[in-house]
């Protein structure tokens, strides 16, 4: 095999490495732990007082971004609000294991969100869930 014949293979390798970095490991996202047997799948249902909605969204967006970017055990933190009633917020939160959840709750960014939004939240229901299909996997990242 001649040196010259290796060049296309090397180019392909470099291209495939960069595609890989762009697609499965988003820039600015930490590597993630696998979901363990003691992992958590949760729907957090929050009703926000209308006068605080905009401010609440800022807090929730910040804590979601920091948690997803920096915590290996925070697998999803996907927050949505109802089109017909934007004060009704649902967050799909998944944690790789119990330890990851404890570490998240103790983090500075979570405490900033929690203490900063206490007066904005009318009701909060944490509803633990079980995936119907154990083979279904979900990834969440900040683009």
């Amino acid at each position: 095999m001649k040196m010259l014949s290796l060049i296309p293979l090397m180019l392909l390798a470099v291209l495939s490495m960069s595609a890989c970095l762009n697609l499965d490991k988003q820039p600015g996202m930490c590597a993630k732990l696998p979901m363990a047997a003691d992992g958590i799948v949760r729907l957090s249902k929050i009703e926000v007082y209308p006068e605080y909605l905009e401010e609440y969204i800022n807090y929730a967006t910040e804590v979601g971004e920091v948690s997803l970017r920096t915590e290996p055990g925070v697998l999803t933190m996907y927050a949505v609000s109802e089109k017909e009633n934007p004060c009704m917020v649902t967050i799909l939160e998944t944690y790789a294991n119990q330890e990851a959840y404890k570490s998240h709750i103790a983090s500075e960014h979570f405490q900033k969100y929690k203490q900063g939004t206490l007066h904005m939240v009318k009701t909060l229901v944490l509803s633990d869930q079980v995936p119907l299909n154990p083979a279904s996997r979900i990834n969440n990242f900040i683009q």
Copy 2:
């Protein structure tokens, strides 16, 4: 540069290519469309009659797998049920655009699920949502 010195680079390239295939393009999953301006983010909330729960889960698992594997515009179909009350099912459904949704609704696998589970469903609420953070992206695949 000697031929011999290229071998580690080539090995690394092959390894990185297989990591890429495993992580960002799961085997058996079709390529996905990007979320468009007319995309849909929805929480479907379903209460299932207890006597049909097991059968319902089989139908829901099948339609989720086929839709995620074969439909480029079905981005997520992540179904969970409450730990405390397994008859309460929530599905996070996201569709890349309106056309993708119409095509899903018309598909044979969706119609099999829909017609097959009509008598199992006590209540159904389709609640369209807006992500709080437009930069937050979510991927769903069958492992």
